[in-house]
Amino acid sequence: MANKAGPGQKRLETRVEASKRWVVGLREPLRGFLRVLRANHLTMVGFVLVVIISMTALVVAIVPAMTQLVIGHPVLVTPYDPNGLSTDYGQAPSGSHLLGTDNLGRDMFSRVLAALPLDLAIGFGITAFALLVGGGLGLVAGYWDRPRTFGGVVSVSILRIADIFLAFPPLVLALAIAASLGRGTGPAILAVLVTWWPYYVRLTRGEVLAIKHQPFVVAARAAGVSEVRILFRHVIRNLIEPLLVYYTMDIGTVLVTFSTISFVGIGAPLDVPEWGTMVESYARFLQSLPWTVLSAGGAIFLTVLAFSLFGDGLRDILDPRSRRALVQVTLSSTLAPKAAVAAEA
């Protein structure tokens, strides 16, 4: 009655209103996330480190490529050319060389920085591949596992194949594959790739088995929810949390494994800046030029630590139970919100 605007106007208004509510809906989980970060200092440290490391890696990787495209030659973000030799060899860390130089006069800071995108991409990428392949297979093996059916046969086959891989210690298997493929970054990546997915099959299958026999799945079935919807809404939703936590923590492990392959001398070649290769080639100078080994090793240490801390905290952030618990602890002194009142019955 009061509104005499046309229907188009109205539709626009309701749309704007709806999208506003959507934004408001996103704000709440974000607040929960920030609260956990504030309440848990180690998670905060991990989160900040992960953000800094990832951002740096992105800049180091993208800027040279973009400048190559735009102005024809790459502009390096690192202070020196990571492979550029100079006469300032064996210098201790100083203002001009933050982490010193190595035996050939290459700037260690530039080398460590240049290796960051490769190492991080390996960590993220191999783990993501394992998560997708292993998680997918684990889901199939866990959900359709009724014996004497087609699904049961598939399930058992997946598990036995995974078992073959799991029979070897992961590092030994990865080393064996890498060694048989010859030296190179590609073969080393392939080796870890092949080694890593069976662990996710195991993990996912176990979780799926635990979830699918939970009473709430039976209750959902009793409410008329179809099997496909149960799989997505009830099983996968409860899988995300443990898998994501495991994924985050695993990034560090993959990184260490890859570096180990390089350290043994069958991973990334010497001219490719890679932390494991660097540790290997500078190991001889541990006494004379300790900053060379320590900066490469320290980079591995810091990255692994960052992801472990963050992964640990991620559990608190993703699990509604612990998230709410934390929030209520921080709020209890100020006011018990309506939640507490409503929970009384």
Binding site: P7, K10, R11, T14, R15, E17, A18, S19, R21, W22, G25, R146, P147, Q214, P215, F216, V218, A219, A220, R221, A222, A223, G224, V225, S226, E227, R233, H234, R237, N238, E241, P320, R321, R324, K338, A339, V341, A342, A343, E344, A345
Partner: protein, 380 residues
């Protein structure tokens, strides 16, 4: 009762085994129960007497392999549930047969808020009602479930004029389901449903969770509701609250209810008719007051005697001699005969008169699977 109404549920001679490594367990042997529309039938029995198996078998929720339906038929609204193809089973549940479970703590998905849990069931019903999803049984409509909220005239006009918010936005979806969700939460006597919409199950008390489970079950508007020990996991005061609520709801929502419990008192309170299960056999079936005042099966009689009475303090509580037989080797003949004071030779070989599932008006008849029913009254 006028004429013979078509029973909502007609279980005929249902026998179910569990086949596990250790052997075969006869969870149910030749059980027949009928439910007329609007009636509440209680099933009472000890732990392991097959109550839950019966409850889960009707909407086909049993896991088969371990379980195997040996014989029998389950007619729900005239359709034999046991012959339905697997893909049709979800269509049977929710809008056809609703279920309330024993443990409200585990029966709600910990990852979703109250709103989403109820909304899921509402969505399923709406999809089926609107014909988007196929449906097997149209849900029983006659009841007006809305309670408390009245659509104001102004609002109704506004709704007619304002075009709907696009459906693909989560907030719009929430908006569309909000009224129903709030209605059902109010129906189960949650006074400020708005305040709990965004809470997770673990933030609620046991009674609150069970109310939400009831709201979920009712939001499918089922024509048969199976309550599988809905109060056993709750402590005694909450139990009373939930039972009062269910009692009130029975008057409001006239669905047929199969109420399963191990508690004779609860059954007396809730049910019109009662069936007594012993070691997978239905030993007695009849109207509650009949069965309770005048049991016709020795097991029921002795069970009644074992109920503590606060007005009688004479000596120790009488207990049944012997123990419940293992379901792996139920005694031949009447399952109760090794413990029965009235047992005769025939009891060891003959399971007693068959409890003919009585239809319609004759559901009021009182039956017992015992040849010596007339002597039961003479037992101490």
């Amino acid at each position: 009762m006028n004429g013979m109404p078509e029973p909502v549920l007609d279980v005929q001679g249902l026998s179910i085994d569990y086949e596990v490594g250790a052997g075969t367990f006869h969870a149910l042997s030749d059980v027949s129960v009928q439910l007329s529309p609007g009636r509440v039938v209680g099933i009472v029995g000890e732990t392991g007497s097959g109550k839950s198996t019966l409850a889960h078998a009707i909407p086909r929720l049993l896991r088969e392999p371990p379980a195997r339906i040996r014989s029998g038929r389950i007619f729900f609204q005239g359709v034999n549930v046991l012959e339905l193809p697997k893909w049709k089973l979800p269509l049977l549940r929710g809008t056809g047969i609703g279920m309330i479970f024993q443990e409200p703590i585990n029966s709600l998905n910990p990852a979703y808020r109250v709103f989403d849990q109820v909304a899921e069931a509402v969505t399923i019903r709406k999809l089926r009602e609107s014909g988007v999803a196929p449906t097997l049984f149209p849900s029983a409509e006659p009841h007006d479930y809305s309670r408390g909220t009245r659509v104001k005239t102004g609002e109704a006009i506004l709704h007619a004029v304002v075009p709907r918010v696009p459906n693909w936005l989560p907030s719009a979806r929430r908006e569309a389901l909000m009224k129903d969700v709030l209605d059902y939460l109010r129906l189960v006597r949650i006074n400020d449903p708005e305040t709990i919409l965004d809470l997770y199950p673990h933030e609620l008390s046991g009674g609150m969770r069970q109310r939400i489970m009831i709201a979920i079950a009712l939001s499918g508007k089922p024509s048969l509701l199976i309550a599988d020990e809905p109060t056993s996991a709750l402590d005694i005061t909450i139990q009373a609250q939930v039972l009062t609520l269910m009692k009130e709801l029975m008057d409001e929502v006239r669905t047929s209810i199969l109420f399963i419990s191990h508690d004779l008192g609860v059954i007396a309170e809730m049910a019109d008719d009662v069936g007594v299960l012993y070691a997978g056999h239905l030993v007695e079936l009849g109207p509650v007051d009949e069965v309770y005042t005048n049991p016709r099966h020795p097991y029921t009689k002795l069970l009644m005697r074992a109920i503590p009475n606060r007005y009688k303090r004479a000596g120790p509580l009488p207990a049944l001699t012997g123990s419940v037989p293992s379901l792996a080797n139920v005694p031949p003949g009447c399952p109760f005969h090794p413990r029965c004071p009235l047992a005769q030779k025939i009891c060891g070989s003959d399971p007693g008169p068959v409890l003919e599932a009585a239809t319609g008006a004759s559901v009021r008849t009182h039956l017992a699977a015992c040849y010596f029913s007339d002597e039961v009254a003479s037992l101490p």
